[in-house]
């Protein structure tokens, strides 16, 4: 079966979700990945929206985390204060994996979803942090979605909205942030992970037909490529679930 880049990204992310994980979803493709994981590999994972809907039984894809579709069949409808406390709380927070996207990412997995140019007179303004800064601060693991574009992989962010490993090494610890940090970056061409010591990004996987050089051409900074391995394409079962169970209207997968 042929598949789109979005479908590949959703399936690659779904594979990162472990059974029993509490999956923090944002809008868009991250919700789809979480829905897919529950069907594919992690039936006992919990879908968790920052809006306070815990373990929602999604029948339709939500268009926003405040969509009434996130409320159906949940275990609890908490407030926003409750929702984030589950991540800040170490006992539950340890089990949370957060899925985030952004306009820019830097070599240490920090994200910008606030603005481009001068913050006080921005060239382009985005929505702002939302829960991204909190999730990036609190939880044990994050999965980051990015488009593979030079303007998005930048050596220095215009605005640091969501902490990854800050300036690398034990930067999080020095700043006083809880343990954690980004685990993987998933793009439309490749996956990246972070060195255990330096916390610098490296190329971890290339999608079928993609070479490391093609990836590097679409980045504003260099990363080591020697640890790169091929990433398996989505199989028929994965694609079927994604298309038929998760997003039959192709609201997020697109045309």
């Amino acid at each position: 079966m042929t598949y789109s880049a979005r479908e590949m990204m959703a399936v690659v992310a779904a594979r990162e979700i472990k059974d029993g994980d509490i999956v923090f979803c944002g809008t868009g493709i991250s919700m789809l990945a979480a829905m897919a994981a529950k069907h594919i590999s992690a039936p006992n994972s919990v879908i968790f929206f920052e809006t306070g809907a815990i373990d929602a039984q999604l029948e339709e894809v939500p268009m926003a985390v405040g969509d009434p579709r996130v409320m159906l069949g949940a275990a609890v409808h908490g407030s926003l204060a409750d929702a984030f406390a589950f991540m800040q709380n170490r006992t539950t927070g340890e089990h949370v994996v957060g899925i985030l996207g952004a306009a820019q990412i830097d070599p240490y997995g920090n994200l910008n979803s606030t603005s481009l140019g001068d913050y006080n007179a921005p060239r382009v303004r985005f929505s702002g942090s939302g829960g991204a800064c909190d999730v990036g601060s609190f939880v044990g693991r994050t999965i980051l979605f990015m488009q593979q574009e030079t303007r998005k992989f930048v050596p220095r962010l215009d605005y640091l909205t969501c902490p990854g490993f800050l300036d690398g090494g034990n930067g999080r610890e020095r700043a006083g942030l809880p343990h954690g940090g980004p685990e993987v970056v998933i793009t439309n061409m490749a996956t990246f992970r972070f060195d255990a010591d330096t916390r610098h990004m490296y190329l971890a996987g290339c999608y079928p037909g993609v070479t490391p050089d093609q990836v590097l051409e679409r980045m504003g900074f260099a990363v080591p490529v020697d640890r790169a391995r091929p990433v398996l394409p989505p199989d028929d079962r994965e694609l079927g679930i994604l298309r038929n169970k998760c997003d039959p209207q192709r609201l997020i997968l697109g045309d």
Partner: protein
């Protein structure tokens, strides 16, 4: 705050009395859900200006108030309507053209700021944001902060944990309480005295209401006090917190009101197109808001068939199978 038992007034009177120009206004709801839109439109109709707006993660209410020319300053965690507008359109235009001053916080920071206001403490601690530009870069100038006594002097403050490394936290950020002049929320049910029942997710509506000096509650249904009091555990806000109750069906339209109606994808998509163009946006404002006397007249301009399509299914609380492209 009003301990009385009869607070039902018209939307016009509520906005006129409790939302003066320059007010520090907080609105409830989240992205495409339970924004107090009828109140938002009335604020635009009454040409309120210079508002200092607090919102958590809106959405339609924030974007329309900005587009209506009512807002001078905004404190917010997320200005978007999900897939309908990943960044609010009029918000983006206003910031990029320098017409709107913004102070950015994270979702949880904003939540704790409303909670601090509700609790009556000057700040609450959070463990998010250390090392980020939410801490390092401030939107409001120190001069502006000092010139408005309704604003704290600092965006936020760092603190070493006085309890050593207790809870594995060497340090925290303190975020200051928000204390709005007035908060407006839209809910499913209220009684005439103002006791509130929200169904589904409450977002930060309750904290926003308790943090404010004055509270306007707009509701889909006005219900007898006895009905609400059969199950006090399902109510969230006691009447004495509330100053005005406005009965306004479809009061959250075009955003959703769980168990009553869904968001209107057609309106939201159409709005995005209008908002992107100055001329079309001006025509929208004129026709739908300025030329309508009230929310009922605004709703009369909507397609009745579409209003039927967004009606909530009793089992799910939203419109099952609604075309949302």
């Amino acid at each position: 705050m009003n301990p009385g038992s009869e607070k039902v007034i018209s939307m016009r009177e509520a906005v006129d009395r409790f939302v003066p120009d320059g007010a520090h206004l907080s609105i409830g709801g989240f992205t495409v859900n339970r924004n107090p839109m009828a109140a938002v439109y009335e604020i635009i109709r009454q040409k309120k200006t210079g508002l200092h707006l607090y919102a958590h993660s809106n959405g339609q209410g924030v974007d329309e108030l900005i587009g209506g020319g009512c807002v001078a300053r905004l404190e917010i965690a997320y200005a978007g309507s999900g897939r309908f507008a990943p960044t609010c359109v009029r918000f983006r235009k206003a910031v990029q053209s320098g017409r709107l001053q913004v102070e950015d916080y994270s979702n949880y920071q904003m939540t704790m700021r409303f909670a601090a206001g509700a609790m009556g403490v000057p700040f609450l601690p959070v463990r998010s944001g250390m090392g980020t530009d939410l801490v390092n870069r401030w939107g409001f100038t120190p001069e502006m902060r000092q010139s408005d006594e309704r604003l704290p002097d600092l965006k936020l403050a760092a603190l070493d944990n006085p309890f050593g490394n207790w809870a594995d936290a060497p340090n925290v950020l303190l975020v200051p309480a928000i204390r709005p002049d007035v908060t407006i929320i839209h809910v499913q049910s209220a009684d005439r005295a103002g006791t509130v029942r929200i169904e589904g997710l409450p977002f930060t509506d309750i904290e926003q209401a308790k943090a404010a000096r004055r509270v306007i509650v707009t509701c889909e249904e006005l219900v007898p006090t006895e009905t609400l009091r059969e199950h006090p555990e399902y109510n969230q806000l006691p009447f004495f917190c509330v100053d005005a109750v406005v009965h306004v069906p479809h009061g959250a339209f075009p955003t959703a009101c769980y168990r009553h109606y869904d968001y209107d994808p057609a309106f939201l998509n159409q709005y995005r197109e209008w908002a992107l163009d100055e001329e079309r946006h001006a025509r929208y404002l004129q026709r739908y808001i300025k030329d309508t006397p009230d929310h009922q007249a605004f709703m009369a301009l909507q397609d009745p068939a579409q209003l039927g399509r967004i009606k909530a299914d009793p089992r799910t609380g939203y419109a099952v199978g609604l075309d949302r492209r």
